[in-house]
């Protein structure tokens, strides 16, 4: 199991934001996490990445607890928000920095960025700008590319489709699928776009008020089922 969550609880004073008895993510799975605002998606991701201390319970990655451990960082790529970008670097410098940490040569980096060229749409590289001066959408593209740069076994993305234009959303969808198919990458993404997430992911987990309320394999009827679920 690439990720195993057991009795995971995060509570702030009196409100419980995440309460998950059990969640298993096998290598090679693609999982979409859906849920309304405040359902605890981002907090769950932060606990998977050891950025928030769980009130109770443990997260293990390949049977090793993620807390105070560096091992998982070598095979896990992630992009949750702008806090994951070093925004005073140019995109090239940022990719170089991340690549260096994973021992990639400049050639490797170029080769691995090649599939992203469509998504970048000529607006990311050689722009002579710092990341902080890019638009939100383009910052997101930089973050996703950096997260996938090392060809991690596990890729965690928080709302990757948000802030992207329609063409970019479709390109990203195809890109994520091919990363999964070509490198067997395990995907864990959250999204508010039900149709995109059902197209990319083979398994959908619905989170509500911090708890898993449904966990299902994607079929032809999943999108309808989800729409029915979220219609109030």
């Amino acid at each position: 199991m690439i990720i195993e969550v057991k009795d995971l609880v995060k509570a702030y004073s009196d409100t419980t934001v995440v309460n998950i008895q059990s969640l298993h993510v096998a290598a090679g799975e693609t999982i979409g996490l859906v849920g309304n605002n405040g359902a605890g998606k981002t907090t769950l991701f932060r606990m998977l990445l050891d950025l928030v201390r769980p009130t109770d319970g443990v997260v293990t990655s390949k049977s090793i607890p993620v807390a105070h451990n560096d091992a998982w960082k070598y095979y896990t790529g992630s992009h949750l928000d702008e806090g994951f970008l070093i925004d005073y670097l140019t995109p090239e410098e940022y990719f170089k920095f991340i690549g260096d940490l994973h021992g990639l040569s400049t050639g490797d980096i170029q080769e691995r960025l090649q599939p992203f060229m469509d998504l970048f749409n000529g607006e990311i590289l050689q722009q002579r700008k710092y990341i902080r001066d890019f638009s939100k959408g383009n910052q997101k593209k930089v973050g996703i590319a950096a997260a996938a740069l090392s060809h991690p076994e596990l890729l965690i993305l928080d709302e990757p489709f948000a802030n992207l234009d329609p063409s970019s959303q479709i390109r990203l969808k195809n890109l994520l699928r091919s990363l999964h198919e070509q490198h067997g990458m395990t995907l864990l993404i959250s999204s508010h776009d039900l149709s995109h997430v059902t197209e990319v992911c083979e398994r959908i987990v619905i989170l509500e008020k911090g708890q898993i309320v449904q966990d299902m394999q994607t079929t032809q009827d999943t999108l309808q089922a989800l729409e029915a679920y979220f219609t109030v």
Binding site: L49, D50, L51, V52, R53, H68, D70, K73, Y74, T76, S78, L80, D81, E82, G83, F84, L85, I86, D87, Y88, L89, T90, E92, E93, K96, F97, I98, D100, L101, H102, R128, K129, Y130, D133
Partner: protein
């Protein structure tokens, strides 16, 4: 309308995170503010006596007047370096039915109540009361004071106008500083005496108070200049001096030799160079090199030991203290990025250490000329250098783990209290008192030289065991990482 805008400004200041400090910090800050205010007031109160002693053949008022032009020139230069443009968020008002000229007047007038404009009143008012009023009467004295205020405001608006045009070009500032320095030199060589001019000009004002019309007209002039410029450029992208210059990425190749730690250092150097706050902090650190002059030129201090140790620690460690107090908060905007990447905390801490050490060595070399004040000064500074490297660097890292406030890097660092917590003040105590405590027993035994050696020896011990100490600091940072990361995520 003006009232509403003022009210909103007040709310903005009141509700800014910088204002929400703990009571302890407020008390300490209040103490510092009162302390410095008292120094300025005392300066104003006694300067007529000092001036009468130094220049016995002219009246204190005349002597005071003779320095005023230089004062205003220096004021202008330091504004170029330190003062930020008043950033009133007028963007939310631009699409509302508010008259444009009101907004512009507000932006401009809002810049007047600031530390830069009102600080010197603390000197001018006591001096006026003690020296000007008895000679010239209260009416003329008030005109004199008003002219000084007007000149201050003129400087204020000159700065705003030029800084808007030129962004903050360090070359211009340097040029200006050189011109002022040159004028001072000419004055000293008695080629062209600006002091004479100043004395005559302000003397004339005291005789013929209607002359105040001149600064008044000048003020109206620069104000209108600003007003017209802003009226023509009332677009957010033109007002906010945020020009996206084209940049070239760079690779600090020589640092690659140091492996991942070297890359972290390169990253940090770029951080310093590409943000306003750390950059202005480097500049302030450069000025602090001259801090020693205040003490070394005074015989009382030069004969003692304790004060010199304090100065030595401070002078050789200033850049480290300045920079280190905000470790790791400098990286608060991307702390999550560092935590999820394969970077060990030990590497991270070591990178900081390896930035501290060269900064201390560099400053120590730059301040070697202080040896001219005696070998004692040299010995103390060298010992302080070793102590700073061995012990104080670790103390800085120890307190670093207490910084959990997000740091805003986009503003200058002068008078910037954003992100300053109580730990910064607490941190100074062991760093300064520690060395004095080591030295004192030897001083009591009347072998002060041995005290200096003990200082260096303690530092050397710290250097020998730096790996173990850094591991401990890494452990500490690791233990506190959730608290830090959560704090940094709060905007």
């Amino acid at each position: 309308m003006f009232g509403t805008l003022l009210n909103l400004q007040w709310k903005q200041a009141r509700r800014s995170p910088a204002y929400e400090k703990s009571l302890v910090v407020k008390i300490i800050l209040g103490f510092f503010i009162i302390y410095f205010a008292l120094i300025f007031i005392a300066l104003g109160f006694f300067s007529h006596k000092i001036l009468a002693e130094v220049y016995p053949d002219q009246s204190p008022v005349a002597s005071f007047n003779s320095f005023l032009l230089f004062y205003f020139l220096i004021d202008l230069v330091s504004r170029f370096m330190l003062q930020d443009l008043p950033v009133l968020a007028i963007q939310p008002f631009l699409h509302l039915p508010v008259k444009r000229n009101k907004l512009v007047h507000f932006v401009l007038l809002r810049s007047i109540p600031s530390v830069f404009n009102l600080l010197m009143l603390l000197v001018f008012v006591p001096f006026m009361l003690r020296a000007v009023v008895p000679v010239h009467g209260i009416g003329i004295a008030l005109v004199w004071l008003a002219s000084l205020l007007l000149l201050t405001f003129i400087n204020n608006f000159i700065l705003i106008y030029f800084k808007r045009q030129l962004t903050s070009n360090p070359k211009i500032t340097l040029l200006l500083a050189l011109v002022v320095g040159g004028l001072m030199l000419l004055d000293y060589l008695q080629v062209l005496s600006l002091r004479q001019v100043s004395m005559v000009a302000f003397g004339a004002l005291l005789q013929q108070p209607w002359l105040i019309i001149l600064p008044l007209l000048m003020l109206v002039g620069v104000y209108l200049l600003n007003y017209r410029f802003l009226m023509q450029h009332l677009y957010p992208e033109e007002i906010y001096v945020k020009r996206v210059a084209t940049v070239e990425g760079s690779d600090m190749a020589f640092l690659n030799k140091f492996g991942d730690t070297g890359k972290l250092i390169a990253l940090e150097l770029k951080l310093i160079w590409r943000h306003k706050r750390p950059k202005s902090m480097v500049m302030i650190s450069a000025f602090l090199l001259f801090y020693g002059l205040i003490f070394y030129t005074n015989k009382v201090y030069l004969e003692g030991w304790g004060m010199l140790i304090f100065v030595g620690i401070f002078v050789t460690g200033a850049p480290m203290f300045n920079y280190g107090q905000f470790v790791p908060a400098w990286q608060s905007a991307h702390y999550d990025a560092l935590l999820t990447r394969p970077i060990s905390t030990y590497q991270y801490v070591k990178a900081k250490y390896l930035m501290f050490v060269p900064s201390i060595l560099l400053v120590t070399v730059l301040t070697l000329p202080y040896a001219l004040f005696g070998t004692k000064v040299l010995l103390i500074n060298l010992a302080s250098c070793v102590f700073n490297i061995g012990v104080n660097s670790i103390v800085v890292l120890y307190f670093a783990a207490l910084n959990k406030e997000r740091l805003d890097l986009s503003n200058g660092s002068a008078f910037n209290w954003q992100g300053v917590g109580a730990s910064k003040f607490v941190m100074m105590l062991p760093m300064v008192l520690g060395p004095v405590a080591i030295f004192l027993p030897f001083s009591f035994m009347d072998i002060p030289q041995w005290g200096i050696f003990a200082l260096a020896f303690t530092g050397a011990l710290g250097i020998v065991f730096h790996r173990q100490l850094l591991r401990k600091m890494a452990k500490r940072l690791e233990d506190r990482k959730y608290t830090l990361a959560a704090g940094y995520r709060q905007h």
